[in-house]
């Protein structure tokens, strides 16, 4: 999927070897808890996380709200600077080679995040220009990609605010795929969607995984989603990556019949249902 990228952005050679290489990655956030005393609270969002991903592999990271999943995705997307350790995407360091990394990565997050008054076509149009794609190049590509994600053609001109969350999330997937990323970061892409939209989005992720050469990091709450889509499943708890193995190996290791039981055995805590922890997310996630 890198052909367009190479043509328009100049060559960003995808180096051989590991797609993702994370070593002892650490990130902490400080928040002022008292204006009077200036007292600050520190929370470790990622605590020495290390893992690797092969090209074309899909890895799911399971974790509760505030476990550090979004922080990991933001660090790999060059949106945060690490406090320690390193992360490399196809050999490029996320700090020192951030421009090269940005050409290779795109992301879908839990919030679809668009200019709400603008239509899906307009949002995709301007966003693709940031990746060097001209209007001539996207004239046919945007309708094609919207059709592929199952977005109705007669709603392309409607403002985003008129669309359901499920529809918006499909446009978010289209936006990410439009730029032909070799690493796709999916941060709870199905959280908050109705069951039908959830299945449609999952089906599309499966299609990307099976038909394209993309490497996918999927951070999710959804145990079934992780098991169904990923080659390996990781458990991230309070900033620490406790395990990263194929789902069956994970269950065997913790002598469990389900991923939920394995999660409980690994963390000592029940796996929460999807919840809204925006307060926590706002500061630390």
């Amino acid at each position: 999927m890198i052909d367009i990228q190479e043509a328009v952005m100049g060559v960003v050679p995808v180096q051989k070897g590991l797609a993702v290489e994370v070593r002892e990655l650490r990130k902490e956030f400080r928040r002022k808890v008292s204006r009077k005393s200036g007292e600050k609270r520190t929370r470790v969002a990622l605590d020495g996380v290390s893992f690797t991903m092969d090209k074309g592999e899909t890895v799911a990271i399971l974790g509760q709200n505030g476990s550090g999943k979004s922080t990991l995705v933001r660090l790999l997307s060059t949106l945060l600077l690490p406090d320690g350790g390193s992360a490399r995407i196809f050999g490029y360091d996320v700090v020192s080679d951030e421009r090269a990394v940005r050409r290779l990565v795109n992301r879908v997050s839990v919030e679809a995040s668009f200019f709400k008054k603008m239509s899906s076509s307009e949002n995709l149009g301007y966003a693709s220009r940031f990746y060097g794609m001209t209007s001539k190049q996207t004239k046919h590509k945007i309708p094609e990609i919207l059709e592929r994600v199952g977005f109705p053609s007669d709603r392309r001109g409607e403002p985003m605010e008129a669309l359901s969350r499920g529809m918006q999330q499909k446009v978010a997937l289209a936006r990410a795929l439009l730029t032909s990323p070799v690493l796709l970061l999916l941060d709870e892409p199905t959280t908050g969607l109705d069951p039908r939209s959830k299945l449609e989005v999952q089906e599309f992720i499966r299609e990307i995984r099976d038909t394209h050469d993309s490497t996918i990091l999927l951070c999710t709450h959804d145990l079934d989603e992780a098991e169904a889509l990923a080659n390996r499943v990781g458990i991230l708890d309070r900033g620490r990556l406790l395990a990263l193995e194929p789902a069956d190996d994970l269950k065997r290791r913790y002598d469990s019949s389900t991923l939920e039981e394995a999660f409980f055995a690994a963390t000592g805590r029940e796996f929460e249902a999807e919840g809204d922890d925006d307060d926590d997310r706002e500061v630390f996630a």
């Binding site: 100049g10 060559v11 956030f29 949106l79 600077l81 940031f130």
Partner: protein, 277 residues
């Protein structure tokens, strides 16, 4: 060489994307813009009427010239408001809509991102300033027999480079402080104009404000535009205004980009790029 051209082309396309996005947004919010323009016209009229008020008190002076003098100040104030507003929205609006992380993780350089934002702001601001000036001139039937509008536009265009540089510096404020950054930007804009002689000569200001006026591009812009419109001076006659504007522009753009880069790194270190609101 081919690779370098590819990167340059991609950067220009990216900057064009910023212009394209702002054009879409302007189209979508066009009635809001119309309302805002009417408010600006009303505000400008109240300022220009001050000259009429002074005339009615019996003071003898060239009321047409004084009204034009005030009108130029009000139009430059409105223009600067548009420029700073757009640049401030580089961060503030994107954070509100939640798109900021997607923009900041795109491979477009920050310089070209901000150049696109600045280019649209200048285009939109100039069109709006011309309309505002025209509407108010017609309303008061102002006469400008010696006006050199070409020279005035040249001064405004050169000054815009400095304004963009300073605007980039203020646009970083919402990045550092999501809650108070935008308001601090308004303070910067107001301060710039107060010391620059927006409705009065700089010579009436206290000494310390006159000192600050020397570093403000608005001082030279207002003086240059007034000389062009009221006295009919040409571009070659206004070296005293144009040279300082070029010097401030040459300094302020790289300085603005440097300040923005520092702010971006701070935001990335402290997790402040995230959506809020």
């Amino acid at each position: 060489m081919r690779a370098m051209w590819g990167v340059m082309r991609a950067e220009l396309v990216g900057a064009g994307g910023v212009v394209e996005r702002n054009a879409y947004l302007t189209k979508r919010y066009i009635w809001w813009d119309v309302a805002w323009f009417i408010w600006t016209v009303a505000n400008t009229l109240t300022i220009v009427f001050i000259a009429k008020g002074v005339e009615s008190s019996g003071v003898e002076f060239d009321v047409n010239e004084y009204m034009t003098y005030l009108l130029i100040g009000a139009v430059v104030w409105a223009y600067l408001g548009i420029l700073f507003g757009f640049l401030m929205e580089t961060v503030a609006w994107e954070r509100w809509e939640g798109t900021i992380e997607y923009t900041f993780m795109a491979p477009l350089s920050r310089a070209m991102h901000l150049a696109g934002q600045g280019a649209f702001a200048i285009l939109y601001g100039i069109v709006r300033a011309v309309f505002l000036f025209g509407v108010c001139t017609l309303f008061f039937s102002l006469s400008m027999p010696d006006a050199n509008f070409f020279a005035a536009m040249v001064v405004l265009a050169i000054a815009s480079i400095s304004f963009i540089g300073i605007g980039i510096m203020t646009s970083v404020l919402p990045l550092i402080s999501p809650e108070k950054g935008t308001q601090l930007g308004f303070i910067a804009q107001g301060t710039l104009l107060v010391v620059s002689g927006v409705y009065y000569p700089v010579s009436v200001l206290p000494d310390w404000m006159q000192f600050l006026a020397k570093f403000s591009p608005a001082t030279y812009a207002l003086e240059g535009i007034r000389q062009a419109i009221l006295e009919g001076q040409g571009v070659t006659d206004m070296a005293d205004q144009i040279v300082p504007l070029i010097v401030i522009g040459v300094v302020s753009i790289p300085l603005g980009l440097w300040v923005f880069r520092r702010g971006e790194l701070y935001a990335k270190r402290h997790g402040k790029l995230k959506r809020s609101g």
